[in-house]
């Protein structure tokens, strides 16, 4: 496949798990950084319990886990600016945009569907 095509590929990462109950959150983040190094077009979508990953001020050391927030704060430095949060998931968990650790676009169901439909690859961990 030639470079023109591969440069137009978009990867959507769907983060749908709470940050520390399983390693899905960390694995998704690692893929995001790898994709950024290869300058891939990337959508990073937080949905369901995945929105808890973005909440600022976490102290997971007390449960022997490494905080995710510090890495999520650096997404923009890596050129990952297409960060989306599913609005209903956020609101139904009693959270607001001001509690998030990085800048993210709030997104509704239909826009989310379109984002996924337009992606070349979807990785959902």
């Amino acid at each position: 496949m030639d470079n023109d095509i591969s440069n137009k590929q978009t990867i959507s990462l769907i983060a749908r798990r709470a940050p520390y109950g399983s390693d899905g959150a960390r694995q998704t983040l690692d893929i995001a950084f790898a994709a950024a190094v290869f300058e891939k077009s990337l959508n990073y979508i937080f949905i369901g319990d995945g929105v808890f990953q973005l909440v600022a001020g976490q102290s997971p050391k007390v449960i022997s886990s490494k905080p995710l927030g510090a890495a999520l704060e650096t997404l923009e430095l890596y050129g990952i600016s297409e960060v989306f949060v599913h609005r209903d998931s956020l609101l139904s968990r009693g959270l607001t945009e001001s509690q998030l650790v990085c800048r993210a676009f709030l997104i509704e169901d239909c826009a989310l569907k379109q984002l996924i439909a337009e992606s070349t690859y979807v990785i959902n961990l």
């Binding site: 496949m1 590929q9 990867i11 694995q27 790898a34 290869f38 990785i123 961990l125």
Partner: protein
């Protein structure tokens, strides 16, 4: 095992990357991935790369022992990869956390044993991203 990759490529054959994220013993996911990979080759499609990630790295364990009446999934992956000359990569950061090491990693970390089938290479996530660039489809399991 006979090579399935020698099947003539059908017109419209596609290149697939498979991302395997589940351990062989705790869910059906890696069995499904194995059967899917076999079917792809039988139908004349191409497998660009198998990428084992997270608990999925346990599919490359050469130290797995199964009861005789149960399938040894890691051994079946090994046979499929060898027979068809597939590219198979095990994520290094997932692997060493779970005790999946080849000779180089065992030396680097001063371990006394190796546990990774030689048919798979221990590598990085960059090899997943690279494989996607050369694939028409990516499927993830688990």
């Amino acid at each position: 095992m006979t090579s399935l990759a020698d099947t003539p490529k059908a017109p419209g054959a596609l290149r697939y990357t498979l991302l395997i994220n589940a351990a062989p013993q705790s869910s059906q996911a890696s069995k499904s991935a194995l059967r899917f990979a076999e079917s792809l080759l039988q139908m004349g499609h191409n497998i660009e790369r198998l990428f084992f990630y997270g608990d999925g790295v346990l599919n490359a364990s050469s130290l797995t022992v199964m009861p005789q009446d149960e399938i040894n999934i890691p051994a079946a992956w090994h046979a499929l990869i060898e027979a068809n000359g597939l590219s198979s990569v095990v994520c290094v950061s997932s692997a060493i956390r779970r005790g999946i090491v080849d000779t180089a990693e065992a030396q680097r970390h001063e371990l006394y044993a190796t546990s990774c089938f030689t048919s798979s290479e221990i590598g990085g996530l960059g090899q997943l991203i690279e494989a996607l660039s050369n694939s028409d489809r990516m499927l993830s399991f688990g």
